[in-house]
């Protein structure tokens, strides 16, 4: 049975990527599906070239494939929200929040003096060392970790803009800081869980 070449596979993958399927974890599955269908048509006696069969297949199925991708993104969003919701009550996350709560009560001055700087540095580090490489490298752009990172950076950016840090010694704002740390810890826990999941499954390939 005729198998597609490496160039053919890359052609399919690049076409899907240019059509908006930017997450590697779903694109590789779609690529395999399209490639398997083309190989099957060749096996059944289709004598046309790879490009003609591919073109014909895409004319018939492109709408289906892209619709499937939009649904996939919605599902990923829902999945990371549920995962983060569960992680809000994970023992490690709760232990961290307890630590912050104690810290806020013992050293309120620390939070009023340095919190703004810590918060902005944290967001900056996330953006520079985690999110930026995703924009540069397409291969490593996995859906769930990307959603979590974008969520984390956007969440921190907006809370940084809205929380009145100059009044951090006031009780309600200190509670705001604790809740902020709690949500951050839950999202970060989800992110590292997802990274571990991807590492376990994608390491071999």
């Amino acid at each position: 049975m005729k198998k597609l070449s490496q160039e053919n596979i890359e052609f399919i993958s690049t076409y899907l990527q240019k059509s908006g399927v930017d997450y590697f974890d779903i694109r590789m599955e779609m690529t395999d599906h399209v490639a398997s269908e083309i190989e099957n048509r060749m096996k059944k006696g289709d004598r046309h070239s790879f490009y003609l069969i591919f073109k014909e297949y895409m004319q018939q199925h492109k709408t289906h494939l892209l619709k499937n991708y939009k649904g996939f993104k919605r599902m990923v969003f829902k999945r990371v929200m549920i995962q983060t919701g569960h992680n809000l009550f994970h023992s490690k996350v709760l232990a961290f929040v307890l630590l912050i709560l104690v810290g806020v009560n013992i050293f309120p001055g620390f939070f009023s003096g340095y919190w703004s700087m810590i918060h902005m540095s944290f967001t900056g580090i996330l953006f520079l060392f985690y999110l930026l490489p995703y924009f540069i490298s397409d291969k490593d752009k996995h859906s769930r970790s990307h959603f979590l990172l974008v969520g984390l950076v956007v969440f921190n950016y907006f809370t940084f803009k809205t929380l009145p840090f100059e009044k951090t010694t006031e009780d309600p704002v200190l509670w705001g800081v604790v809740i902020l740390c709690w949500i951050n810890a839950a999202i970060l826990k989800s992110f590292f869980d997802v990274k571990k999941h991807y590492k376990r499954h994608f390491q071999k390939i």
Partner: protein, 89 residues
């Protein structure tokens, strides 16, 4: 099994009557994976990466339950369509 293989198997077993489109299959597989009913494995095959799905223990238990529910439902339908004659009349 991998996605394309599932579509072909369904078509083969049903004699071509059941055609699962990729738009219906993959969201269902991803949902089952998210619910912990399916486990995945990535393998490099023929110049590309292939994602294999297999039932987890929880998935196997759930399958058995769903099949029992389906059998029960079909039995009820059969009774409705072909009711046993009432000899008491």
């Amino acid at each position: 099994m991998y996605g394309y293989e599932i579509t072909q198997k369904a078509r083969e077993i049903s004699g071509g009557k059941l055609k699962i489109t990729e738009g219906a299959l993959y969201p269902a597989l991803h949902k089952l994976e998210a619910e912990g009913l399916l486990d995945i494995e990535m393998v490099r095959v023929d110049n590309r990466v292939r994602k294999y799905y297999k039932l987890t223990e929880k998935g196997t238990r759930e399958t058995v339950n769903k099949l029992l529910e389906l059998e029960d439902f079909l039995a009820t339908l059969r009774q409705i369509i072909n009711p046993k004659p009432d000899f008491a009349l």
